[in-house]
Subunit: 457 residues, 2 copies
């Protein structure tokens, strides 16, 4: 009889693991338990589903039940794994409100993802208050807006999801207020760097309140009516809570599977936990940071897909008595997002993180252009880099602009992977043509400036 | 008395050298002799000047005479250096049609650029037949079109300039035919890879004739009337000749300054020639290829600016008895251009070049998307990579698409600089968001496929 793999979680990491397992060892039987009603969807598309840019939730489903059946993967939706017993190699599963049953496994993949950090005031059960954990939440929010019964939305959180939701809800015609507890916004960037984004919010009538403390909600007839701050209340008939996520590790902890100081499940670069037969992947694990070597959590879509695939490949190889060549090489937290006309991107460390990691950071900033000065349609590109004074190594960068941002942060990602100095980045031969940038690319320019000032140029 | 530097050529390389020399050693007197009527202009903008996207030639002038005077640089336009005598450290200069005079130098920078490869049939002196060596040519062509006296243009050459000119002249309402001698087009790419570009030409009524031999021109009253092929004639009242360029090295050769087998002036990575006191930079020199280590010519704008700056810095350092930290680290021929809605980019080697350089090339191709599958507005991205079978090292890539092309080739440039294997490129953490690409970036995807097939994944 073939061996059985149980995968807990049917999002990016879990489904990537399941697919890779079947690809690498078709003898293994693979069952995925997903507590939600959907599997294998593009979670990053949820804001665009709400904005209407994505027509229907079906578009977000990368693969359907048929596809998985064809791949030999059994996907069980609305099945919650309530316990893992690694000694007996058993998981306890409940389907909907049914009874718990035990399922034996030979290999297990934990892909439990991340859960929203719910603020204390959110515990009150009030309608029209939503986090955005998964597709169902997104569909609910879209339905609420489609019903035409809401006019004023408050978003709590000024990070990536908060900003993407501000755009989405504004595009749907709602009056939007975004509330943050500090000056930090997307990717932890400060408001000063993000000024063009802040302006684009206010141009569209979106109110941005920072350095605020939410103390509670007000409701009428069970539905939210306002968000209460220390000194005032903001009327709202829809509240989106986007105050961050943390790895979902309850199952692992209760099963005695090690969780690291970062809060993620401890895994090797083969995505193996310390417990025999148990792998973990995606937003629930901790990974090596490519710049610092420290263990961090990095809830990114590519990382989730990739760690799932690596976990699956290593698991399959183990089942065949081999060793997989696939290992996780490190994360730099490389990310990009679009808010209205602007793109914001980051990779590696900001100044504070660099200092905390023991580097001697120097910060260099530069305003450049997205096209040659004479070529029409160019817009500003703001680049900020963090460099170690002692080694002149590039430690991280943040880029903001209307075009060419994603490509430039990818060069930074490659530079971080290769531990390049600013002199080396300055020496790169990047592509030039008038529609795509100045002769000296903004990144080359700012790295050249840094190399010069730090004395290596 | 201060020492004197003579710079021959006032384009990107010459002016970069002059500026850097003054920055690094203000004691040096710097005189630039430029044979044309303009200095320090953005040559890459000439097609956009002709198309009208750039309003006037003044926009292309990066810096004016005043700026250079302020930097302490004497710029002498319409001054042709007719001879260099390195023994006596003298150049012979003629202003316009005036007499030749001798000018002593302590240091010399040759930045003589490149000259169009003129086909034999072009020697006939016929009006309305133009190469595009410099700004004056661009202004002349624009004036001819502005006059409204031309309706049918023939462009000879299907490379970068030929294609940019096809777009420019078509945008000006001319009926355009482009003639090529082979199936090779932009960056030496074949027509099959460039099919979307070829289609965008034909959609606009531009005629593309390949595998043709031009045998001559026909003229009426001293003006061109047709381009003659082996088996037919193409009526034309304007002919643009864009059949490539080669380093302008006549001055150097006559002065006994070494010229390499590639046809460019031989220089060290400090841009020094073999002759004491003489530096050279820009399109006239040969440079080290970053993948093969061979000496090549690479007429690129960034390379011209950069080698000029490095030459200037090393010259200034030499004058101060020091050594500059600036050296040229190699070219990969990284380039990008836009033809109507498409961008085309390349870096490193194509299959043929890889084989010629002694590698065992394997080619992988992939069609992907510029945005997440569910995100509206995505378009195809075609990626082709060349990999060495023995080492799995990435040797080069070509990318074609409507968006995100320049950024992706820049990642390739960084990969080539760092001699990365396809497995390493696959392992890169590039930025993902639905508006900018699929979770697995096209480049990651094709490199992953290559690593898998070549057996390292």
């Amino acid at each position: 009889m073939g061996k059985r793999v149980v995968v807990v979680g049917g999002d990016a990491a879990g489904m990537s693991a399941a697919s890779q397992i079947r690809r690498a060892n078709p003898e293994l039987a693979v069952t995925v338990y997903e507590q939600g009603a959907y599997a294998a969807y593009g979670a990053c598309g949820i804001p665009y589903l709400i904005s209407g840019e994505v027509d229907s939730y079906e578009s977000l489903l990368a693969l359907g039940a048929d596809d998985f059946a064809r791949r030999g993967i059994e996907v069980c939706l609305q099945h919650q794994v309530v316990a893992v017993k690694p000694g007996a190699r058993v998981v306890e599963v409940r389907h909907g409100a049914g009874a718990v049953r035990s399922v034996r496994y030979d290999y297990l993949v934990l892909a439990t993802g991340a859960v929203p950090v719910a603020p204390a005031w959110m515990e009150v059960s009030v309608a029209q208050v939503h986090g955005l954990r998964g597709l169902s939440d997104g569909m609910t929010v879209r339905r609420i807006i489609d019903s035409g019964q809401v006019a004023r939305a408050v978003i709590v959180g000024t990070g990536l999801i908060g900003m993407e939701m501000a755009e989405a809800l504004s595009k749907r015609g709602l009056q939007v207020t975004v509330i943050g507890r500090s000056q930090r916004m997307i990717f932890g960037l400060d408001r000063v760097f993000l000024e063009p984004v802040v302006r684009s919010l206010s141009d569209r009538g979106i109110e941005l309140l920072q350095d605020q403390t939410v103390t509670g909600l007000q409701s009428q007839a069970g539905r939210v009516s306002a968000v209460v701050l220390l000194d005032r209340r903001i009327p709202a008939d829809l509240v989106i809570v986007a105050t961050g996520v943390r790895p979902s590790t309850a199952l692992a902890r209760e099963a005695g599977i090690g969780v690291g100081r970062s809060g993620g499940i401890a895994v090797s670069d083969r995505l193996k936990t310390e417990v025999p037969g148990v792998y973990a992947a995606g937003d629930c694990v901790e990974l090596t940071h490519i710049v610092t070597g420290a263990r961090v959590v990095a809830p990114l879509a590519l990382t989730a897909n990739r760690t799932g695939r690596i976990a699956g490949d290593n698991l399959a190889a183990e089942s065949l008595g081999r060793l997989s060549a696939q290992r996780f090489r490190g994360t730099a937290g490389t990310a990009v997002t679009r808010v209205f006309d602007h793109s914001v991107a980051c990779a590696g460390l900001d100044e504070e993180q660099a200092r905390a990691a023991g580097f001697a950071p120097a910060v260099f900033e530069r305003e450049s252009r997205s096209r040659a000065s004479y070529y029409p349609g160019g817009t500003p590109v703001y680049t900020r880099i963090v460099v170690d004074r002692r080694t002149q190594r590039l430690l991280g960068a943040q880029i903001l602009g209307q075009e060419g941002v994603a490509g430039r942060i990818d060069v930074v990602a490659a530079a971080l992977f290769n531990r390049m100095t600013v002199q080396q980045v300055y020496d790169l031969e990047l592509a030039y043509a008038p529609p795509f940038g100045p002769v000296y690319d903004p990144l080359i320019e700012v790295c050249g400036r840094a190399a010069l000032e730090l004395g290596t140029l």
